[in-house]
C-alpha cells in the first residue's frame, strides 16, 4: 500500500478541490504561482502549478507514464524528464535583434533554439473528429500532498517531510542533496530539480500564506473560482462536503495508490453529434478516458452532479450546487491559520 515508510497521520490534512466544470484554461493559477515562487534561474523552467489540455501529452510530457507507480500501484523505476523534450526550457528571446539595427539580417521575434515543446505546447489540441466527438478539457495540476507520498519514500536522506500539523509535503532544502529520486518517483511529476541550487523544489501549498489564513495563490487568484481549500476533516468546510459528503470530488490516478489530497470535480461535456449530425444526448468526452484519469468513481461523481443540477433546474434546493456556484467566494476557503502556525 502506498509507501513503505511508516507515517503518523497528520493532525489535519489540507486539501484542494478543483471543479473542472469551471476551469477556463486561463493559466492565472500558473502565472500566480510562477511569479510568486519560481522566477529565478534554476527553477525558471518549473511550474509547480500548470494547466494542461486533456487528452494530451501534458506537462511534463507524458508525465503519468514516467513515475514510480504502475497502473496497479506497484513500484517501478521512474524517469526524470528532459528539460527540452519534456518540460520545455525557459526560452530566451531576441528582442534586441528584432527591434534594433544589427549587423545580421533583421530577425523576427522568436525563442532561441527553435523549441519543439513547452509547458502548454498542446493547448486546445484535443482529440476526436470534428464535429462528432472532438473534445478536450483543462486539467490544472499541482502537488497532491499525498497521504503516502512517493517522493518522500524515494528520498534516501529523509529530506522530504509530511508535516504533522497540516499534511503539507515539503522538501527540506537544507537536507536535500539534489539526488532527484523524488523527481523520478513522483508519478504526478510534481517535484522539480533546481540545477542552480542543486536541490529539489516543489509546491509548498503556499505555506507562508496559509499561516496568515490566506489561500494559496493558485486558488485565491483563480478567476474561474473553481478551487476550494480547507481540511479533509472539517465538516463545516467545502472540502469535506465535496469529497466525503457528496462524493463528487475525486483524485487523479487513484490507481497509483498514493492518496492524493487534491481532488477534482470531473468534467461534464457537450453532447456528442451523431454521424448524421444529430445531437446524441451523450457527453462527448469518452467515459473510458475519464476513467483512465479518475478511476471508476468518475461515473458516480458525474451522475451526482447531473442529478443535483436537475434538481436545481426543477426549482428544488441543492446544497451541492450552491457550494459549486460559490455565491460567496470567501466560502471556497476554510482556512485556520493557527493550524499551520503551531510549529513556529
Amino acid at each position: 500500500m502506498g509507501i513503505s515508510r511508516q507515517l503518523t497521520p497528520p493532525k489535519h490534512q489540507v486539501a484542494m478541490v478543483l471543479d473542472l466544470n469551471k476551469c477556463l484554461g486561463c493559466h492565472t493559477c500558473t502565472v500566480a504561482c510562477k511569479t510568486l515562487w519560481n522566477r529565478d534561474q534554476g527553477t525558471d523552467y518549473a511550474y509547480w502549478n500548470n494547466v494542461e489540455t486533456a487528452p494530451g501529452k501534458g506537462y511534463p510530457k507524458m508525465w503519468s507514464a514516467t513515475g514510480s507507480r504502475t497502473e496497479t500501484g506497484e513500484v517501478k523505476r521512474g524517469e526524470i524528464p528532459d528539460v527540452d523534450q519534456d518540460y520545455g526550457r525557459s526560452w530566451k528571446f531576441n528582442h534586441d535583434k528584432t527591434f534594433f539595427k544589427s549587423n545580421g539580417p533583421r530577425e523576427w521575434l522568436k525563442p532561441e533554439g527553435n523549441p519543439q515543446w513547452g509547458p502548454n505546447w498542446d493547448e486546445d489540441r484535443g482529440e476526436g473528429e470534428y464535429p462528432q466527438d472532438n473534445h478536450y478539457f483543462y486539467l490544472p495540476r499541482l502537488c497532491n500532498h499525498c497521504t503516502h507520498p512517493a517522493c518522500l519514500d524515494a528520498c534516501p536522506r529523509s529530506a522530504i517531510d509530511k508535516r504533522q500539523e497540516d499534511g503539507i509535503v515539503l522538501v527540506n532544502q537544507d537536507k536535500c542533496h539534489g539526488y532527484r529520486f523524488c523527481v523520478e518517483a513522483c508519478p504526478y511529476k510534481k517535484v522539480y530539480f533546481d540545477p542552480k541550487r542543486q536541490v529539489a523544489t516543489k509546491c509548498i501549498f503556499c505555506l507562508p500564506r496559509m499561516e496568515e489564513g490566506t489561500a494559496p495563490a493558485c486558488a485565491r487568484q483563480c478567476p474561474g473560482r473553481l478551487r476550494f481549500v480547507g481540511y479533509l476533516d472539517d465538516e463545516n468546510g467545502p472540502i469535506w462536503k465535496l469529497v466525503h459528503k457528496w462524493k463528487v470530488a475525486i483524485p487523479l490516478h487513484p490507481e497509483f495508490d498514493l492518496g492524493p489530497n487534491v481532488f477534482y470535480v470531473p468534467p461534464m461535456s457537450p453532447q456528442a453529434i451523431g454521424p448524421d449530425g444529430q445531437p446524441t444526448g451523450e457527453p462527448r468526452i469518452p467515459m473510458s478516458y475519464l476513467e483512465s484519469l479518475f478511476g471508476p468513481a468518475v461515473r458516480d461523481a458525474l451522475a451526482i452532479v447531473e442529478a443535483e443540477r436537475a434538481k436545481k433546474k426543477a426549482g428544488q434546493p441543492s446544497e451541492l450546487m450552491d457550494i459549486l456556484i460559490a455565491y460567496d467566494w470567501n466560502n471556497n476557503f476554510h482556512i485556520d491559520p493557527a493550524v499551520h502556525r503551531e510549529v513556529i
Partner: protein, 180 residues
C-alpha cells in the same frame, strides 16, 4: 607514487533507505565502473589519485535536471570498526572527501549510515585536481593533513558515472577498506 588497480563493486541498492530505490534499482547489480587505478603518496601528507574509465564524461553543472555529474570520493573510518558499505553507522562515523566534475573545490563529507551524509567545506589546503583524457578520468586529491586517515591508515573509494544517472547510493565502490 604507489599505484594499484582496485576492483570496484556495485554499492548494493537493497540497503538504501526508503521504499523506492531498493525496488526501482534492484536491477543495478553490477558495477558500472569495474575498476580504478589508485595511487597513494604519503611522503607529504596524503596525495591519492583515482583513475577510471568513463565513456561519456559529465562535467557541466548542466541546466538539465536529467543530467548527473561525474564524481568520486574517498572515505575513511573515524572509528576502527565503522562499516564502509553503509557509510558508517550510528555511533560509528565515517569521514570523506568528495570531488565533483562541476566543482573546483572538493567537499568534506561525514556520515553515520546511509542517508545521513553531511557535506561541508573542505579545509582550504585540500585540493582535487582532475583531468579527463583518452576516455579516463584522473582525479588527484592532495590532503596535507587528514587525522582519521593518519590514524586508521585505510580508506574506501566510490565512483559515480553521471551519464549513467549514478548519484547517491547508485555508485561503484571498493570491496572494503583499502590499506593506505
Amino acid at each position: 607514487m604507489n599505484t594499484r588497480s582496485i576492483k570496484l563493486v556495485v554499492a548494493p541498492t537493497g540497503f538504501q533507505p526508503g521504499g523506492y530505490i531498493a525496488k526501482a534499482y534492484a536491477d543495478r547489480n553490477t558495477a558500472l565502473t569495474g575498476k580504478a587505478d589508485v595511487g597513494v603518496d604519503t611522503a607529504n601528507g596524503f596525495v591519492i589519485s583515482l583513475r577510471w574509465k568513463c565513456q561519456h564524461p559529465m562535467i557541466d553543472a548542466s541546466d538539465n535536471p536529467r543530467q548527473f555529474i561525474d564524481a568520486c570520493a574517498l572515505l575513511v573510518p573515524e572509528k576502527a570498526d565503522a562499516p564502509w558499505i553503509t557509510m558508517g553507522a550510528p555511533g560509528l562515523p565515517v569521514a570523506g572527501v568528495l570531488w565533483r566534475a562541476d566543482k573546483t573545490q572538493p567537499m568534506a563529507i561525514r556520515a553515520e549510515g546511509l542517508g545521513s551524509v553531511q557535506r561541508s567545506e573542505a579545509p582550504n589546503n585540500w585540493k582535487a585536481e582532475s583531468n579527463y583524457a583518452d576516455g579516463y578520468w584522473r582525479v588527484t586529491f592532495t590532503l596535507p593533513q587528514w587525522a582519521p586517515l593518519a590514524e586508521h591508515r585505510q580508506f574506501a573509494i566510490a565512483v559515480w558515472q553521471g551519464a549513467q544517472s549514478e548519484r547517491a547510493g547508485l555508485k561503484s565502490i571498493s570491496e572494503g577498506w583499502l590499506p593506505l
